[in-house]
Point group: C3
């Protein structure tokens, strides 16, 4: 697999995804057996303009498990108070002398691509604004592959903030590559899927259904879907219609009632952190795989790092 | 020694403490000879909801000296601004996939216990609110053992903020395990030892004396005590009685005058950082062991890490 | 080379600089070949009271490339909220038990010297207030040596904030050690070189010319100089004379026009980050070496670390 940067879901084709998943399977063995020396002598720089301990720790743990080193900043725009920060481009060029791969999180969509244009070393997009979060989507896809045995033909309900979740956005691009996919969009009115993604899916043969209301048909859908993919519902999106927000918070919830209707071999996913949208009572159910996602994410990021730094097991 | 988590002083019995101290002695040799490979391939995560460079660096240095790796956050509640942070429990489960041991500092008493109930990996309490700081107390106890040759029969004066110091609180639980202990509580009126600890010590056969006034009998006590354990006096505790605070700041001080009356084989301890409560002139005196405490702390934390990760020298 | 601390430019003589540059040349090979084991088992602590990702990453990368470990804080004055931070001296003594070398950045001039007086381990000054930034100046000097083949006889224009740039200040002390140096000071009126440095250079036989006006003779100088050393111009220094600031921002710029007049074997340097004082169009010119400076800086810091920790290739 030729992998120069990881910028967006669109850059991966089905063949690459398959190779990546095979590599991730092998990484799982390393996780179980302890540290490897695969990336000994390599340095990863975490450059987080927006702090996120989970994502940062996931990449840094992946690098450590492979025997590499980590330089870390969760306030990447901090400079001597006397000086004005330079451009993202200058920072990226500079960091390329210190590290062998840069993991970038930035508040602005398109930042990862901008960075990749000037960088001396590979860039991994760890989330840029509301645009994309491709490694989250890769781990989501890998989770479906591992838990359901394949992706073709999957029926998936995307629940929550479809408008602003970059994880869901990136996942959408991936799903469009597979055949026989059916997607149910389930969101309160202000948070429906954006038009460009709807058209992209439509153009790529994905069958979809839109359920935009304050009372989502979760228990009904439960009988049909293979995957519930749930995300947080942000209060800010409701403006002063706080009643609607409170209703949504109560309604868009996977709980015992939904569990009861779900198919035996279906799964519940969540990118975490969660608020109340998945009830704690669900955690013990074998179909709740959101913590397994964390584990698969570690494996996927190890696979990406080893592929991008051109080292194989 | 079976050690699953390090949560509070009460979990250690005298036999465990002895084993731990023997292990710490051996760790001292590693510190003197440079890095060991004992914890190679293991990852420690520092999860500090309240920043504390000293405690964090102590654990991280201990892990490095043993050949392990470190993931670090001193703002553990930082998440993407778009999302609300999840629960402590979810964070702990997640981090358990990235690290082999979690060092937790949190602003809320009881957090370490809560974390241990869901964690996949060992939790070490690095201070939770005003509740406990067991590794600080372990290093304090180890310092007494090393400097005085034993703990039974020790006469100790606890000086300063007895009400809120979690170090002193945790140390109290440890002292109660030994025989013949005499404790002098020395504090300005609002900062006396809390009733629950007084009763705990009393029930466990510790003899104690309370000296609560603005003029502490430090020079008098100096003739009797083996250990002065001194802590910062926080201004906030005095409300608007700033005169009393100023008086306390001047009076609760170990200085040349106190040194003069102290026994030859006694010691002065302080958990650091200090303000003016130990005068700089005291630093050169051989009985001032607060920087040695730092060294013993490194050894104790190395011992805890190697015991908890089930690796022995 | 006997190197105990790195505190200020004045501590280095020409012989030491030559040795250091030879060592840096060898470090360049390590950078090209991947990690070395030279500093295996050693720990570096970054203690940054003022955050600066670039300088911190440069030192930490240097330590990693040599096989050492890193403890890192970019908010070195963070302590438990309940406690008041202790003195710099107490912190430095404490950190000396956790690390084998301390890299210190502090807002107060003279801090590195204060630290060195009490420290158990070597101190490297990574910038203290507006006083000095000796490792930046060392890498600047090394850049001139590498790019021009020598330092004696060099004609250099220092452009921008001469009054407050500690990089330029430290570089001044170094230049005074070489013979036949000519310096052009080029600055807007409020930012001219301070009198003490002017006298120091004068006393040490450096010939200098002062160009303090709102219209700097950059294109004219371009014909004569071997080095343009450019720095940011801070708005704050202009008080309410914002017009003068705007004029300076437009005038103190290396652009295509200046490039055209420059000698073939001359160079443009900048300590970075930059604002508009070097136009992006300059980046592609072979005489623009500000990113090479980053690389040379890594080599110099590796050389300093290996010399100070008494390990040689």
């Amino acid at each position: 697999m030729e992998l120069k940067h990881v910028l967006e879901a669109q850059q991966f084709d089905k063949k690459m995804l398959k190779e990546l998943f095979t590599l991730a399977d092998r990484m799982e063995e390393i996780v179980q057996n302890g540290e490897s020396d695969l990336l000994r002598g390599k340095i990863l720089a975490s450059l987080f303009y927006v702090p996120s301990n989970r994502t940062r720790f996931s990449f840094e743990s992946a690098m450590c498990r492979l025997g590499g080193r980590v330089l870390s900043s969760d306030r990447a725009d901090s400079f001597s108070s006397e000086l004005k920060a330079g451009s993202l481009e200058d920072t990226i060029i500079t960091m390329g002398y210190y590290a062998d791969v840069i993991v970038l999180r930035h508040h602005q969509g398109g930042s990862a691509k901008r960075a990749s244009k000037v960088s001396r070393v590979p860039i991994i997009n760890a989330g840029d604004g509301t645009a994309q979060h491709p490694t989250q989507a890769l781990l989501d896809l890998y989770t479906i592959e591992r838990e359901l045995g394949g992706i073709d033909g999957v029926v998936i309900a995307l629940v929550g903030d479809l408008a602003n979740s970059r994880s869901i956005r990136s996942l959408g691009y991936f799903l469009a590559k597979y055949s026989g996919i059916k997607v149910h969009f389930v969101a309160p009115p202000p948070l429906g899927m954006r038009e460009d993604m709807v058209q992209y899916l439509s153009k790529n043969g994905v069958i979809f259904y839109e359920h935009y209301g304050l009372e989502p048909p979760l228990a009904d859908l439960a009988r049909k879907v293979d995957v519930f993919y749930v995300t947080q519902i942000p209060m800010e999106s409701f403006g002063d219609r706080l009643d609607d927000y409170e209703t949504s918070k109560r309604q868009f919830v996977i709980d015992r009632r939904v569990l009861k209707s779900m198919k035996k071999n279906s799964i519940i996913m969540h990118p975490l952190p969660r608020q109340s949208e998945v009830a704690p009572e669900v955690d013990k159910d074998l179909r709740a795989v959101y913590f397994k996602q964390v584990h698969y994410g570690l494996c996927i990021r190890m696979a990406l790092l080893s592929a991008i730094l051109k080292k194989r097991t």
